[in-house]
Each structure stands twice: as C-alpha cells, then as structure tokens.
C-alpha cells in the first residue's frame, strides 16, 4: 500500500503541477487579447449550445465516420471518470475501495466495461481513418494535411493504454477478490478468467502494476494534452461557451478596432482562445472552396500559423520581454494571398466542431491590409468606384434604374410613393447586362401578380456587404449612413433584395445602425406569391438541382423557400452532395469576384461545383443569386458542359411556368 501511495501520489502531484502550470500560462496568454464584448450574454442559449454541441456532439456527428467514434470516445471519457475515482480510491484509500452508494451497482460496472471496449473500438476506428486519409499519401486532399499527426498517433496510443491498463487491473482485482462489481462487468470478468490461472499472488502484483500504470498513463496524458492540439478536451467546452450565438455567420463580428490587427496582441481573447482550441481535425480545410481548388488558403493552417505566433510571442505578451520586436501577422505569419483567398462563404465556421470563428479573424486581418492600402489594384479600383459613384461598376447613379426603361411600365419610386415592398436591387442586378434581363423578368412577375413594389432609383447605393468583407470598414459605414438616409426618405413595409449578399447585410448588419424593417430575399417573396395564389403557374416537369447561395443557405439558413418554389413549379429536385447549409461556394464572395485568379491554379470553385452537378444527370442548375448566375454561366462553358447543364435563375423558371411555354434550347453562342 505504501508503494502505491508514494509512487501514485508522486506521479499525480507532479502531473497536476505541470498541467496546472501550463494551463495557467495559457490562460494568461489568452487573456492578454483585447476585449471581446458580448461573449457572456445570453447564458441560456450558451448553456443550450454546451448541451447540444459538447454533450450531444451535434456538429462532430455530421461526419458519421469519424463522428460516431469521437462521440463514443467522448462519452466514454465521461463515464470512465468513475473509474478514475475508483483508481485513486484503490491507490490511496484501500484495495477494496468502492464509490459510496453506487460503487457496487451492476449497471455502473456494466457501463464502465462497455465504454472501455467502445473507446478501444473508437481508437481502432480513428486509426483506420488516419491510415486511409494519411497526408503522407493523400497530400492536400487529406484533411490532416499540415496537422500534427505524430502527436495524434501518440494520443491514440495513450488512450488505448489507459483502456488496456484499466481492464488489466480490474481483471486482476476480480481474481484478488477486491473488484466491486459482479458478472455485469463482463469485460473485466472475461479478462479475469484469462489471468485466473496465474494465481492470486501474481494477480495481486499485476493489480498494483496495472493500477500504477493506469494512473501514470492518465497523468502523462493529462500533461501531454496541455502541450498539444489535444487541448481541445479542456478548451472546446470553453470556446463553445463563448462563441458567437446562434453562430458566427451572417453579420460580421463588430470590430473593437476598425483598422484591424497588425500584431497577434491585437486579436481579441476569443480569437486567441480559438487558436489554442483548434484540434487540427481539418473539417474546415476539407470543405473550404479555396483549399479544395488548390488556392493558398486552409482555414486550419491559418489558425495553426496564428497559434504558433501566439506561442512564439508569449514572452512578449505575458513575460517581461516587452522589447521584443513584434512580427507582422501579414505577411510574416500568414501570407497576403492567403488572407485574400477567402470567399467568406463560412463553410469553415459551419463545419468547425469547436466553434472557431475563422471568417471574423480573416476579415480582421484584411482590415489592416486595407488600412495600409495593401490590396490588388483591381480591388482598390472597385473600392474607389464604390466610394465615388456608389456602385462597383463605376457607373453614374442615374444609370442605376436604367434597366427599367424597357419594361413597358413605370416602377414606383418609393421615395415619392408609398409601397408595400421596397426592392433593393443591388449593383449586379442593376448594371450587369445579363442580369438586367433577370431583373426585368422579376419586375414583370411582380407586376403580373399585382405586387405593390418600388425602387430607390438613383438613391440606392451598394449595400456594402462585400465592401465590409474586403475589410474596408470605413467605406461600409459610409455606405450604411447614405443608404439609411435614403431609406429614411422612402415609405415601405418590407424590403426584398435580389442579391443574397445585399440581403445578408441589410438583414443582419443594418439593424445595428437603425434599420427596423423586415428584409426578404426574392426567393422568399416568390414562395409567398405562389402559396397565396397571386402567382399561378403550370408544372414545368423539369429535372433540376438547386445551388444554395452561401449567404442565403448557410449564413441565413434560408434553404426551404427556394425549394418550395421549385416544388410549386413542378420541378423534380435532385440534391447535390453539398447542399443546404453545407453548400459549396461559387468562389465570388467576400470580394473575390473582383480579384484576379491565377489560371495556373487549375479548377476554380465554380467549375468544381458544376462538375458535381453534372454527375447528377439533371438538366438545369438553378440559382438564386446574381453572382452565382454569372459565375456558373461561365463555369458551364469553361468545363464544356453547355449541352449537359443549363444555368437558370429561379425567376426565369417561375416566369416560364407562368407562361407555360417550352424552354428554349440551351444557347450555343
């Protein structure tokens, strides 16, 4: 007993001291970040997230293959906390230790044994996954590319050792008569029957050795965890608790400092907590439109690089090395082209099981670059055009509503006549010739359905969604002021937009500046008109797939209305593998539509998407976003799929169903 107490106690005290020291250091590092307001409000919602995401493993279970083993291991860890109590009881109190009240319950013994085996099964599953998806072999297409794989294997070995030593000492306890559970602890009794022939004396030695080994492995695991990416065991619940709710999508985080972060200490404590919480699982990387098409951005590697910088800067942040020269986050830690490769589609945020807020951090890095004027000339031009002319096309204000000229009827000016719906058309649908046609179609549809709608005419300006995501916060604020002043002159009940990006900022960001009217996307309006009977259509009987725009489907969870419209139009919808909130970006978001793309990089996100759709064997690729219409119309051509798949907008389909006329052959010009 003395040996057990001395050896076990020493190991434990040493490990707790090491881990505690490390955790204290990490806490100081994280707390050195700038304030992150609003991270503790809404306790009920945060508690809910904790239950659903941590206890319920909701996000991680979306990927079944790795999600189920993870959930088993996680729940196993919770259950097996009882065995840790038992181990210390056996070590420090008595060989016959049992947890008071429940310590002899058959059910507990059974569950402990069951999860010991399930965790072992989980470790086997993880090993298979890591072997099949090995970055050494699969390179960039492995989600573990760039992750610390050796540490991950070590963790798997440690977990396996914890289980093996646990079973070993429990089995030996059965044979020494010290085991608190009966037959229901089936695994312990099973292994015990194997050890039984060795005799009681040997079993007693095995019990001590295995128990000490069990505690030693647990304790070294504890220390190792605090020094590795496996820290998520402790930090994931914290990060999830402080994450933006309901999710870090839609509106951008309001920057404390509008000019962005130049050095690591200008990130908020939540952004720093994100960094140390990352478990390098690579779900973000595997779904990132930039990474999957060979662009120089992986959200995971970006987080890891920033984390490396956080650790490298620790002596400056919390030590006494205040004079150390800080490194510029861009380009010393993260490359400039990496920061600009992001489409802000939010897939990384959507996928991240520990609720890291990648997009907010990337935009914050961009803000600094914009402040210093470090951007592509094309982006600079667009920002100057938007600042000067109020639109990204650099056209005169007075040209904005020119597309209405050929309508054959006058659209109301909402600044002069009150309307039910104010149509916020947006730059692309107003100025791009291909899209003006769609705007006219929608206008005719609305007119036909007797909808009372109007425009802001030359008073409308770029709403600023992409301006803000480029990182030009000052210009965004200027646009908001101008637009709110114009909206203040107009009389309307609801706004609807053509562009999901415009929709996103009006719906999620303008209210903070005073907009208090409901905002709809035109797909929602169409659904409303179809279900109310204001629009009467005949079934088209087409085989289609639908592409969820990132800023509609993922950022704003509007996935049903466009599908309801398709159903009413009598279209047979076949879903692409990536759909709904899990949609794949066309590559145009976050200002990318204005940036150059190196053709040497190969397949673009939009082409990747079109190939995904072509495999379904449908005839039409339905979009509900002007940028998508442009991007995918190009991509069907560049991938040579013009005769297989036609890109159509929801408006075009509705118009055709209304007239019940045959669709023209796909254009071949």
């Amino acid at each position: 007993m003395i040996v057990r107490i001395v050896v076990g106690g020493t190991i434990t005290v040493l490990a707790l001291a090491l881990a505690g020291h490390r955790l204290y250091h990490l806490a100081r590092l994280v707390r050195s970040g700038v304030p992150a307001p609003g991270r503790t409000s809404g306790a009920a919602r945060r508690l809910g997230a904790e239950i659903v995401e941590v206890i319920g493993q909701r996000k991680i279970l979306r990927r079944r293959q790795s999600g189920i083993p993870h959930a088993l291991v996680f729940w196993g860890f919770l259950i097996l906390l009882f065995t840790v109590i038992e181990a210390f009881g056996d070590l420090l109190v008595s060989r016959r230790f049992a947890i008071p009240l429940i310590g002899h319950a058959a059910a507990l013994g059974f569950v402990e044994d069951l999860f010991t085996l399930l965790v072992l099964g989980g470790v086997v599953a993880f090993s298979v996954i890591r072997t099949l998806d090995s970055p050494a072999r699969r390179q960039r297409s492995s989600r573990f590319y760039g992750s610390h794989t050796k540490a991950a294997w070590l963790v798997l070995v440690m977990i396996a050792l914890v289980m093996v030593t646990l079973l070993g000492y429990r089995a030996a306890q059965v044979n020494t008569g010290d085991f608190p559970y009966g037959d229901w602890a089936f695994a312990s009794h099973g292994v015990a029957s194997l050890l039984h022939p060795l005799g009681r004396g040997v079993n007693s030695v095995i019990e001590t050795a295995m128990l000490l080994a069990n505690v030693a492995v647990i304790m070294s695991f504890l220390v190792f965890v605090t020094y590795s990416k496996h820290l998520h065991i402790f930090l994931a619940p914290l990060n999830i608790a402080f994450s933006r709710r309901p999710r870090a999508l839609g509106a951008l985080e309001l920057p404390g400092e509008t000019t962005g972060a130049e050095h690591i200490e200008q990130l908020s404590w939540k952004q720093l907590l994100d960094l140390v919480t990352c478990t390098e699982c690579g779900r973000c990387q595997a779904s990132c439109p930039a990474w999957t098409t060979n662009r120089p951005l992986s959200p995971k590697l970006l987080v890891m690089d920033l984390r490396d910088e956080l650790f490298a800067a620790s002596s400056r942040l919390v030590g006494n090395d205040g004079a150390a020269q800080p490194r510029a986050l861009v380009p010393d830690v993260v490359r400039e082209e990496t920061v600009w490769s992001c489409t802000t589609c939010g897939s990384c945020v959507e996928q991240c099981p520990v609720d890291i807020e990648h997009v907010d951090t990337i935009v914050h890095l961009r803000r600094r670059l914009v402040e210093e004027g470090r951007m592509e000339p094309a982006v600079q031009e667009v920002l100057q055009r938007i600042a000067q002319q109020g639109n990204s096309f650099g056209k005169s204000d007075r040209m904005r509503a020119r597309w209405t000229r050929d309508l054959g009827f006058a659209v109301k000016d909402a600044r002069k006549d009150p309307v039910r719906y104010l149509w916020y058309v947006g730059d692309f649908a107003s100025f791009d010739e291909r899209l003006q046609e769609l705007s006219r179609s929608l206008a005719h549809l609305l007119k036909g359905a007797d909808v009372d709608f109007g425009l802001l005419y030359e008073g409308e300006r770029n709403a600023g969604n992409d301006v803000r995501r480029i990182g030009e916060e000052g210009l965004f604020e200027m646009l908001v002021e101008r637009n709110l002043a114009t909206l203040g002159e107009a009389r309307f009940e609801e706004i609807f937009t053509t562009d999901p990006h415009t929709f996103n900022t009006l719906r999620n960001e303008y209210p903070a500046h005073g907009l208090d009217k409901p905002v709809l996307h035109y797909s929602q309006l169409l659904e409303r008109l179809l279900s109310s009977g204001d629009l009467v259509v005949e079934p088209l009987g087409l085989r289609v797939t639908y592409h969820d725009p990132c800023y509609l489907g993922r950022h704003n969870r509007i996935t049903e209305p466009p599908r309801a419209v398709l159903a009413r139009l009598g279209c047979t919808l076949t879903e692409m593998p990536r759909h709904g909130t899990n949609t794949f970006c066309c590559g145009a978001g976050g200002g990318r539509i204005w940036m150059s793309d190196d053709p040497a990089l190969g397949e673009r996100p939009s082409e990747n998407r079109i190939r995904e759709a072509v495999r379904l064997g449908v005839d039409y690729f339905v979009v509900a976003c002007p940028k998508d219409y442009v991007m995918y119309s190009d991509a069907v051509k560049t991938t040579g799929n013009e005769d297989r798949l036609q890109v159509v907008d929801l408006v075009q389909l509705t118009e055709r169903a209304l007239r019940a006329e045959a669709l023209p052959e796909p254009e071949t010009v």
Binding site: V370, E371, M375, L383, A387, Q389, S396, E477
Partner: protein
C-alpha cells in the same frame, strides 16, 4: 526639401456632360467632381519622394466642388499640409487664370519642387505646368514618368514620341508635369480620410488677386456627338453567322 503638388477637381466623366444654358461651360449643378487622374499621379510621385527621403509634401488646390474631400484624401495618403486657395471664382477656371493664381501664391512660399498632372480632361492642353514655370521663371519638364532628387538637382525621365524616353536633369526649384508616377496611386482608407477630416488641418488662404494677362476667350462649347454604337447579335450560331454575312454584304466589304 519641400514639394508642392497642385490638384484640380474635374467633372466625373462617368456622368453625361450637359452644357450650361449660356453655352460656355458644362452644367455644373448636377455633376459629381473628382480629382484629375494625372494630378493623382503627381501626388503619388511626391509621396514616393517623401517615402524615399526627407521631404515635406504640400497639397494645393483652388476652391472647387468637392475639393475638401480631395485635400483630406491627400492628407490621409501622407501629405504633410493641405492648402485651399479660396475665392478664385466659380465655374471653369482656364489654364491661364489658374496658373496666374497658383504662381502668385507659390511665389509667396519657398518650394524646391512643384509637381502637377501633365494635363487634365477638362482642357487637355497641358498648359498648366509650362505656364507656371514661365510665370515663376523656373525650369520645366512635362510628360514625366519618374522623378529622383539628388541634392539641388531633379533627375527626370520624360516620355518622347515613338516610345523614346529622355533622362534629364533640372536645377531646383523646378516645375514638373507628371504623366505617371512610379507606382499606382496608393489607397486611402475611408477611416483614414475621416481621421484627417476630424483632425481638420485644411489651411484656407485667400487666392491672390492677379492679372492673368493675355489668353483666349471661350466663345462656345459643343456637346459631344453620339457616335455609332456596337451592335450585339443574338440567337443561335447559325443565325449569328447569317447576320454577319448579311452585314458584310450590305457594307460592300
């Protein structure tokens, strides 16, 4: 080293230009104004000189529509001072009068180098730099694409016809008309421009009264005539091909 950069606001050409009722000016009431792009190049070259060495950059402009925004942008980009010459009059100020006013003011201050755009879209005559140089009695070079300072000498690269370039030396002080800066004009974020606005610092000086001397008298402005527009051919490849053949035949090509 003190560098003056002369800036001029001109109508934003994205707007359709319409003539004022008296026919001697564009209708300024509904036009948006923007910085002459060549002046933006001159400012950039001045700021590059400042970045490369020890120089003070002073942005100077006459009081014209939206000129405050233009001067604050210059401050946000890194100009040390911004001077607005007020009361020079409304409407179009031609090169003769402009050069007289600017020369009178420049003569009151010490400058080593005076940069401005080689020309501006509202007159396209490129007269401002040479007129200024003549009035101030200084050396001059125009259509310059690079300026380097070496003591009291400016080394300039001037574009000539046929793609030839000339490297020249000018004794300072000198007046230089800039065609292009060594790099694209930098970006001033709106937050920086707003900071400059909040900090104030725009120096307002009455424009000196001057006699512009002999020049021309504008009789009449003529609006641009609509030129032929491109025609887009729609339809299938076959239809388009037929139309093209028809057009070629009709034109007798």
């Amino acid at each position: 080293m003190r560098i003056a950069v002369l800036l001029k606001q001109i109508p934003d050409l994205v707007e359709d230009l319409e003539l004022a009722p008296d026919g001697t000016d564009v209708d300024r009431e509904f036009l948006a104004f923007t910085l002459n792009e060549f002046d933006d190049q001159a400012l950039e070259e001045a700021l590059c000189l400042k970045d490369a060495g020890d120089a003070e950059v002073v942005a100077v402009a006459l009081e014209e529509p939206d000129v405050d925004q233009c001067l604050y942008t210059a401050l946000a980009k890194g100009a040390d001072r911004a001077v607005k010459l007020t009361g020079a009059g409304e409407g179009w100020i031609d090169g003769h009068r402009r050069s007289a006013i600017l020369a009178a003011w420049l003569a009151t201050a010490e400058f080593d180098l005076i940069l401005t755009g080689v020309q501006a879209a509202d007159d396209l005559d490129g007269q401002l730099p040479p007129l200024l140089a003549a009035r101030l009695g200084l050396p001059h070079a125009s259509v310059v694409v690079r300026v380097e300072l070496k003591g009291q000498v400016a080394l300039v690269r001037q574009e000539l016809g046929g793609g030839t370039v000339a490297d020249e030396e000018l004794r300072l002080p000198a007046v230089i008309g800039i065609q292009a800066a060594r790099q694209a004009p930098r970006y001033a974020s709106i937050s920086r421009i707003r900071q400059a606005q909040q900090a104030g610092g725009l120096e307002e000086v009455g424009a000196p009264a001057t006699d512009a001397g002999p020049g021309y008298h504008l009789v009449r402005l003529l609006a641009p005539e609509a030129a032929g527009h491109a025609q887009m051919l729609g339809g299938s490849a076959g239809e388009v091909a037929e139309r093209i053949v028809e057009l070629i035949r009709a034109k007798g090509l």
